[in-house]
Amino acid sequence: MRVTVVQFLGSNCDHDVIQWSKDIFRMPTEVVWYTESDLRKPDLVLLPGGFSYGDYLRPGAMASRTPAIESVIDFAKSGGLVLGICNGFQILCECGLLPGALLRNSSLHFICRDLYLKAGNKKTPFTNKIPDGKLLRVPIAHGDGNYFCDEETAKALESEGRVAFRYVSPEGKIDPEWNPNGSMSGIAGILSEKKNVLGMMPHPERASDKALGCEDGRLIFESVISHLES
């Protein structure tokens, strides 16, 4: 599996997802600068988290208007797999590959903490390896993760199995106490219509190394590998 990571001015989790792909999963990994249009024939494009353009104007806004993103849009439209994490998710919404928008956290604070995620659909390229009943413990670190979309879109997301992840309590229940940012029905990640594009606020790349305490985030990468192999 060939992975391409797109780097934007100000991205700060680029290094983390490169390491995720290259060092933890030993995948051939290309790094594409935001001004480049050639994505170098990837099987998976990773859009990293972390404050592209300082989150000035709107998170993801400026990054979503770059040559690299134009190519990502073409790639996704032809069915290519794209995973946007945190700022990557914001970029995906800004460029229209995913519906809706990420508003300020309801507390108005940046929040960094570990949370529990429940997969909303196990039959997607990004979730197929998650065992039944398994909650993923993955950290969030963002100021704008409050997912919002219009009613029609919300219905479509639910009925088409496009809610990839929700924040839940340790018991697996939807619980406002465990919804960190006020996101609509606890949405932590959503999929495109064809389910080849996933945007999620939590950081699986930060929960994929035993030395740091938790490896639940690996399941997402492993799902992609298994999807591409089958």
Partner: protein
Amino acid sequence: MKARIYVFLKPKVLDPQGKAIEKALSTLGFEEVKSVRAGKFFEVETGDVPPGKEEETLREYCRKLLVNAVIEDYRIEVIEK
């Protein structure tokens, strides 16, 4: 040209900042406050723009960057051509 572009959330979109300010104001004793909505504006200065094309140019800025049409609306105001 000098212009101002006002960007605001569509009425149906939740405004966490406005809500928080609303609460904070009434906590401060301003109980008359009923609702607050937050928006932003940009003061833009440009070199020469073809006469008559001012509004169109500003709309382009909005479409291409300044406004996220999924959640926001805008209003433009040309101050000086």
